[in-house]
Structure formats: structure tokens, C-alpha cells
């Protein structure tokens, strides 16, 4: 099953390498990983999307907690949460496809950031499923390039991950 882990970690050199190294060494999966500092610059917040059986997720959580620099780990999928991912996609947009591409982008609430005679660069945010759906909706041959940030997640309502 897919899980979204939110991690508070000391903003120190090598901390990211420890997390990634742990996943590699123990054969855990990383579907996506996004990380940046928080409002407190001594700390980073990381969102890891992973998948595995309940036993595997339990081990991942325990092993992450064992890392000396990890302050807190929360499995966002344990409760209500919000998840967003940003995608930039450059598509072929020429001739009759041009209008269709614009319409499709509007339907997915995308924003066109850059235009040439032959292409659009579209910004799209949403949960990862929505981005997948957009990719599926357009003809594979029209995609020139995609770049995705991986999901960021946060708990709903009063659910807060902080020290």
C-alpha cells in the first residue's frame, strides 16, 4: 500500500544522505522524495512517498526514527491529510492540437507559463493521481518533457507535525 511519510530532520550536512542510504541499504522503496528547510532553518521537512506491506512500513518508520538526526516521523496516510505535487510539462502545441491542449490544461486547472509557436509549458498542481491523469489524458507523442517535484504532504485540521 502507498504511504506518505512526513519527516522532521535536523538541517545538517549529510542528513538527506542518511535517509536515502537507509532506504537503499534495507531495500525499501522511494516513490518520491521532496525536502526543504522549514520556517525554523535548523530543521528540514521531508515528504517520502513509499509503498510496502504494513510490516515493511513499520520497519521503515522504526529505522527512520533510529537515525540520530531524525526528530519526528509521521505516516500522513494514518489520518486525514492534504497532498500536493507540482509538475511542469512541456507539450507539443501546433496546428489543431494547440487549442485542444489549452482546453485540457484549463480542465486540469493548469497554468501556461511559457509559449512558443510549437509548444506550451504548463504548470500543474494537485495530488499525484491528478498529475498522472493529465499525463494519461494527453497523447504520449505530444509530451516533450516533464518534471515533477514529488508529493508534499500536511495533516488536515489541527493535526500538526512540529517539535
Amino acid at each position: 500500500m502507498r504511504h506518505i511519510l512526513s519527516i522532521l530532520i535536523e538541517n545538517e550536512a549529510g542528513a538527506l544522505a542518511r535517509v536515502v542510504g537507509l532506504f537503499a541499504a534495507r531495500a525499501f522503496n522511494i516513490d518520491s522524495l521532496s525536502v526543504s528547510t522549514t520556517e525554523d532553518t535548523t530543521m528540514s521537512r521531508m515528504t517520502i512517498v513509499t509503498h510496502g506491506s504494513d510490516d515493511v512500513i513499520e520497519q521503515i518508520t522504526k529505522q527512520l526514527n533510529k537515525l540520530i538526526e531524525v526528530v519526528k516521523v509521521v505516516d500522513l496516510t494514518d489520518g486525514y491529510h492534504i497532498e500536493r505535487e507540482l509538475m511542469l510539462v512541456k507539450v507539443r502545441a501546433a496546428g489543431k492540437d494547440r487549442d485542444e491542449m489549452k482546453r485540457l490544461s484549463d480542465i486540469f486547472r493548469g497554468r501556461i507559463l511559457d509559449v512558443t509557436d510549437k509548444s506550451y509549458t504548463i504548470e500543474l498542481t494537485g495530488n499525484s493521481d491528478k498529475l498522472d491523469a493529465f499525463i494519461a489524458a494527453i497523447e504520449p507523442g505530444t509530451i516533450l518533457e516533464t518534471v515533477r517535484t514529488g508529493a508534499s504532504g500536511i495533516g488536515r485540521g489541527e493535526r500538526i507535525l512540529k517539535i
Binding site: 535536523e10 549529510g14 544522505a17 522504526k62 517539535i163
Partner: protein, 587 residues
């Protein structure tokens, strides 16, 4: 020597405190930690540190012949004394040589601080001479590591290193210190206490879970206690022994836990696992309540977890490391905490309880256990005819000659298993071996560390002619520091454990497991300034051992030419379950 200066490198006074160099600060920190020995090897990046070592007399530096041995010796110093082992190596090859030692200590959760030199901060990343990415290389095999980029962080980092190494589940911590940091100066202050928001080792075990565990154990019909290295590391032998006797249950130790429960106690079933006793392994399978204490159900202990599963058996697991619990085996009552505290709480609960263990059920359980014991799985064929030496008999004779009270180190292989099987330990910290990583070559440096930590003790290294050659150069260190260990070389002219597997599972195709062109170990020992003995007849074993151990102040290398056809039994083939043992009598 580098000429870097630092912005805060002025030898001025602030608040009356003199500014010290990084190297001086390291000396002060080690003194604050009451370090007695530093095992190390000098090199370019640590020259400033060595210059300060030259000027101080708070600790003794032990110069090894290879960095791997420095780490092993520091590791055994810790294993045999409960103190933190400290070693010091230079950058680049100094560190890479140390990696085997660090990984060995990591697998067995040994508290240790490794200080490594690094090229100056401005040279990092420039592929400088003797540069390597030390924190990167060691990251997967340390509990934690640090690169100190500023001398102002040095004292706090070393404090953290000692704190992290020795608390929670212990482990090695490496501190990488660039050369300019050892030259730069700042005011020195060593923090007395330390708290880290990201690190809080587990506290007390959950009292509700502990109650549940006690209740299960008191109601058990066929209780079994399985104790590992955590009992030794947390000095919980007295508590374990008391609890086992209160419960009247059988008890087994893992390879790492030997001595954690006295082997001479009638409730002890011997070691369990791949080469464990028939009775210990059978009792693990057939008990109805299993109490695991500071052990981790690893592959060499329970074999295939699928085969280990038994419907209805309840498992209680006490461990300091939550990730050890329910990793390979699902448990019913997990208890995270220091095993000594948890055992103490269990003992108090039993003392306060009006319930007692079910005597009738225990009686019939012991009858079953006794039946398993009557198989006498540890009996080996005695010497016949030509008087070839049985390796097991050498270990038994060693036990007799040392009164069962020596510190025994071992290398890795058949001899290691025979030492574990035939030298029963009544006390913890007497059995020093590489259980997790299985590192050949640890034997001699382990004996060095153990002897330095316990100057009055009798220390013997049970090894084989394969393993012993992996750190043989340390015979030179032993000469320099007059370490009077006795080396029991069970020489079967082959890599015995490899050969055993080839005999059982590879159709007797002995690929590269034969040790050709062995040195003359007697001459080799003599060349290093020690005493060498060669023993070839079974009848000479006892006398030779007595003669060697009478030489109290000499290292004696005893080369026993043993029966090369001997194998280690019982044995659970890889991938099989605990009740699928091969016994000597089956063959």
C-alpha cells in the same frame, strides 16, 4: 605540516580561558571521558593530534600494526570492560582499513568512538593526498558520524559522540576531524550534560506490557527464556539469572549472550541456533510462552522464520531497539526499554504477585526437555588409534586448565563454534567474538584489547590457521606491550567451516578451502619474540596447555594439529527451521 590559520586562531584569553588548539581540545575531551587507552596508528592528517599525545600522560596510546586491529582492540576493550573503546586513525587508507573493525562493532552494538583524521577543510573534495569521503564510507556501519568543520564545534561533537555511543542501543560513532581543525584554536569548555532534540534513547519499558508479560509467564505451561547480547551489553546478567530461577523455566543464550546466564546452572540448555544444542532448539519450537531478552531472532538463531512459526505460542520481546522488535518474527508483547530495568520490574511484580509458576506443568515440561537432553547432542567421537587431536577436546582441556575462568576470544569458523560449545561461560564479558559480522582476524586484536582492559585476567584466543593469518601482524604489537595471551590455534589445514559446507552441500568439491603452504607457526611466533609450541598427539594436549599457561608473562602460540575431518554439530542447514538439525549421530 599544513600552515592554515583560522579567524579564531589567536592565542588570546577570553573570560580568562586560554585558547587551545583542536589537538589539545581532543586530549582534554578524552581526559574528561576518563579514557585509559587509545588504539591507533599515526599518519599525516593526525600529526597534530599525535604531537599532543606525545606531551600527555592521561591515557596510554597502543600502537597497532594495522588500523583494522586498532578498531578490533578498542572493540574488545569495550566488550570485556563495559567502558567505551577509543581508536584513532589517519585519513584515507587509515579509515578504509578501519572500516571492517567499525562494521564488526556496529553489528554487535559495541560502544566505541573512532576519531579519524581528514585532509584540511579547504582541501576536502579536491582529491587530496590520502583523502576519502570518510563520513560517506562509514555512514552505513556506524550508529552515527560527524565531520567537524570548525574547532568551535569540536568539544561538543566529541561529547555527543561518547553520549550517542554508550546510550540506547550502543554502537560505534565516528568523528572525522580535518587537519586544520586540529591546529586552529578556541576556548575550551566540555559540556557536563547533553540533550539532543533528535535523539532520546528509549526510557522505561511500558508498565502495562510488563504486567502482561509477567502474567503470561506465570500462566505458562511450557515457558522458555532466550537471552542475547543485550543482556551482556546492559549488564543484566544478575537480573536475568534471578528471573529465570524464579520462573523455573529453561534458558538458552545466543552466541552473543553466552555468559549472560551461568552455563553451569541446571536450567541452562546451552547455546541455540545453527550450531546450538538439540534441547535448546527444540524448546524454542515447542514452548508455549517465549521470553526473548536483548536478542533479535536473527537468521543464525532461528533459521527460516516461516519454519519458526508455531500457532498458539506467545512471544514476549524485550529490547532497547524498537526496530529489532517484530522485524523477523511477529511478537505478542513488545517491550522497548533497557533490559536490566525491565527485568528488575518483572522481578518485583513476580515477588509482589500471589501467583506462582505452575509447578505441575513445569515438571512435565522439564521431563520433555530432559528427554531432548538425553540425546547428548554435544558428545563427539573420542580420539582413536593414531592419536589425532580432536579440536573439541582441546577446548575442553583449555576449560580445565584455566578453571573455566579465562577471557576467551575467538576468530570465525569451526573453532569459534567449538569454543562457544565446549567452553561453558558462567560470567558475562568472558566470551569475545564477532557474532554479527563474522569477521575473521578479530581473535588476536580482541585478545589484546581484552588483556589491556583486564590486566590480571587469563586471556586465550581460540583461532584457526585461516583466521589467525588475517591479523597475524599484531603479534608484533603484543611483543611491544607485553601482552601475555595464549593463542590456541586449532590447525586443520583448511578453512574448516567452508570445507564443512562443501562436504555437506557441494558434493565434497573443496574449492579453495585448503590451506596450502602454511607457515611454521612455532618459528613465526619465535620470530616475533614469543614462545611457539606445536602439539600433534592427543595425549600431549593437556600437558602442553599447562606448560603454556604456566608461562604467565609470555605470549604462547600453540599450534594444535587437529583432526581435519571433524565437523561442527548439531547443524541447521541454511533455510531450514530449528527442529531440522543434523546431529553427529545421523551421519
Amino acid at each position: 605540516m599544513s600552515q592554515e590559520t583560522s579567524p579564531h586562531g589567536q592565542p588570546t584569553l577570553t573570560h580568562g580561558q586560554p585558547h587551545l588548539t583542536g589537538a589539545e581540545i581532543i586530549m582534554r575531551c578524552l581526559a574528561e571521558e576518563k579514557v585509559e587507552f587509545v588504539f591507533g596508528y599515526p599518519g599525516g592528517a593526525v600529526l597534530n593530534i599525535y604531537d599532543e599525545i606525545f606531551k600527555q600522560d592521561k591515557f596510554k596510546h597502543v600502537l597497532v600494526r594495522h588500523e583494522q586491529a586498532a578498531v578490533h582492540a578498542a572493540d574488545a576493550y569495550s566488550r570485556s570492560s563495559q567502558k567505551i573503546g577509543v581508536c584513532l586513525v589517519t585519513s584515507g587508507p587509515g579509515v578504509t582499513n578501519a572500516v571492517t573493525g567499525i562494521a564488526t562493532a556496529f553489528m554487535d552494538s559495541i560502544p566505541m568512538v573512532v576519531i579519524s583524521g581528514q585532509v584540511p577543510t579547504h582541501a576536502i573534495g579536491q582529491d587530496a593526498f590520502q583523502e576519502c569521503d570518510t563520513v560517506g564510507i562509514t555512514r552505513p556501519c556506524v550508529k552515527h558520524n560527524f565531520l567537524v568543520k570548525d574547532v568551535k564545534d569540536l568539544a561538543l561533537t566529541l561529547k555527543k559522540a561518547f553520549y550517542i555511543a554508550s546510550t540506547g542501543r550502543p554502537g560505534p560513532v565516528l568523528v572525522d576531524i580535518p587537519k586544520d581543525v586540529t591546529a586552529n584554536k578556541c576556548a575550551f569548555e566540555y559540556p557536563k550534560e547533553i540533550t539532543m532534540r533528535s535523539y532520546s534513547p528509549a526510557g522505561k519499558g511500558h508498565s502495562g506490557q510488563i504486567k502482561k508479560a509477567v502474567q503470561l509467564l506465570l500462566e505458562a505451561k511450557r515457558p522458555m527464556i532466550y537471552a542475547g547480547g543485550g543482556v551482556v551489553l546492559n549488564d543484566a546478567s544478575a537480573q536475568l539469572t534471578k528471573l529465570v530461577r524464579m520462573l523455573g523455566a529453561p534458558c538458552t543464550n545466543t552466541l552473543m549472550g553466552l555468559g549472560g546466564f551461568p552455563a553451569s546452572d541446571p536450567q541452562f540448555l546451552g547455546m541455540l541456533g545453527m550450531h546450538g544444542t538439540y534441547e535448546a532448539n527444540m524448546a524454542m519450537q515447542d514452548c508455549d510462552v517465549l521470553l526473548a531478552v536483548g536478542a533479535r531472532f536473527d537468521d543464525r538463531v532461528i533459521g527460516n522464520p516461516g519454519h519458526f512459526f508455531r500457532d498458539g505460542r506467545k512471544i514476549i520481546h524485550i529490547d532497547i531497539d524498537p526496530s529489532s522488535i517484530s522485524k523477523r518474527v511477529k511478537v505478542d508483547v513488545p517491550i522497548v526499554g533497557y533490559v536490566r530495568d525491565v527485568l528488575n520490574e518483572m522481578i518485583s511484580l513476580i515477588e509482589a504477585s500471589d501467583k506462582t509458576p505452575d509447578a505441575a506443568a513445569l515438571k512435565s515440561w522439564w521431563a520433555t526437555v530432559n528427554e531432548w537432553q538425553s540425546k547428548k547432542c554435544m558428545v563427539f567421537k573420542p580420539t582413536i588409534g593414531d592419536g589425532r587431536i580432536k579440536p573439541q577436546a582441546v577446548v575442553q582441556a583449555l576449560w580445565n586448565v584455566t578453571g573455566g575462568d579465562a577471557i576467551i576470544t575467538s576468530d570465525v569458523g569451526q573453532h569459534q563454534m567449538w569454543a562457544a560449545q565446549y567452553y561453558p561461560f558462567d560470567k558475562p564479558r568472558r566470551w569475545i567474538n564477532s557474532g554479527g559480522l563474522g569477521t575473521m582476524g578479530v581473535g588476536i586484536p580482541y585478545a589484546m584489547g581484552a588483556q589491556l582492559a583486564n590486566p590480571g585476567a587469563t586471556v586465550a584466543c581460540v583461532t584457526g590457521e585461516g583466521s589467525v593469518q588475517m591479523c597475524i601482524q599484531e603479534l608484533s604489537t603484543c611483543k611491544q606491550y607485553n601482552i601475555p595471551m595464549k593463542i590456541i590455534n586449532l590447525n586443520n589445514r583448511s578453512l574448516g567451516m567452508v570445507r564443512q559446507w562443501q562436504e555437506f552441500f557441494y558434493g565434497n568439491r573443496y574449492a579453495e578451502s585448503y590451506m596450502n603452504a602454511l607457515p611454521d607457526f612455532v618459528k613465526l611466533a619465535e620470530a616475533y619474540g614469543h614462545v611457539g609450541m606445536k602439539i600433534e598427539k592427543a595425549g600431549d594436549v593437556d600437558g602442553a596447555l599447562r606448560e603454556a599457561f604456566a608461562l604467565k608473562d609470555r605470549l604462547v602460540f600453540m599450534d594444535f594439529i587437529t583432526d581435519e575431518t571433524e565437523n561442527v554439530f548439531p547443524m541447521i542447514p541454511g533455510g531450514k527451521g530449528l527442529s531440522e538439525m543434523i546431529l553427529a549421530e545421523d551421519l
